[in-house]
């Protein structure tokens, strides 16, 4: 079955350190991959997407993600974490303008 997986329920990182939130995919054909963030009591906000082209995708708030076809991964990264980055992060995919299929989410906690 086609899916995305987020292997970590929780990621803790110290403020100022680099952060990585992991996502792997199992999708046939060319995957369209997305990262969304959800702050407490808020809806989901789009961070970035990979469609084709450059494997390194830059998005909002200083986040970036690298599409790695050989490892079927699309990890979210940021060079220097902020306390305000603490939130719930979702990896997702779709096949164009179709419903998103989400991973289960990873809670990021940035500690001052």
């Amino acid at each position: 079955a086609q899916s995305v997986a987020q292997p970590e329920d929780q990621v803790n990182v110290a403020e100022g350190n680099p952060l990585t939130v992991k996502c792997t995919y199992s999708v046939s054909g060319n995957p369209y991959l997305f990262w969304y963030v959800q702050y407490p009591n808020r809806g989901l906000q789009f961070l970035l997407k990979y469609i084709t082209g450059d494997n390194l995708v830059k998005g909002s708030y200083g986040f970036e993600a690298e599409f790695n076809k050989s490892q079927t991964s699309f990890h979210l990264k940021k060079p220097s974490a902020l306390v305000s980055d603490s939130a719930l992060y979702f990896c997702a995919y779709n096949s164009g303008n179709t419903p998103l299929v989400f991973g289960k989410g990873t809670r990021l906690s940035v500690i001052a």
């Binding site: 989901l44 789009f46 997407k49 979702f90 303008n97 179709t98 419903p99 998103l100 989400f102 989410g105």
Partner: protein, 114 residues
């Protein structure tokens, strides 16, 4: 510009009652999606509207759930004879519907069935 809006933000209802949840998508967006976010199930797709095409209802969990989209804009999700397992946050999203475009989400409606 204005984003996706949803109303009400919170709804508490008694088991067995019907509820209606409203979504106002971003103006000009032809695609509209409903999702449900619950603790045990994560984020799951419910129904999808694209332009004038028949909606994709494949995610609706039971025939108690239905949705309509009037005039290609506002959408209403209706849950009949609510059950406690319907308690969740219902999220609406819209996208421009052409190309590979990100979906923009509303703040959600938190439904509690007592």
């Amino acid at each position: 510009g204005a984003g996706v809006s949803q109303s009400p933000s919170n709804k508490v209802t008694e088991k067995g009652k019907d509820v209606e949840l409203r979504c106002d998508p971003i103006s000009g967006h032809t695609a509209l999606y409903w999702y449900r976010q619950s603790l045990g199930q994560g984020l799951e797709f419910l129904i999808y509207f694209q332009g004038n095409s028949a909606p994709d209802k494949s995610g609706l969990p039971s025939d108690r759930f239905s949705a309509e989209r009037t005039g290609g804009s506002v959408s209403t999700l209706t849950i009949q004879r609510t059950q406690q397992e319907d308690s969740a946050v219902y999220l609406c999203a819209s996208s421009s519907g052409t190309g590979i475009n990100e979906q923009y989400f509303g703040p959600g409606t938190r439904l509690t069935v007592t």
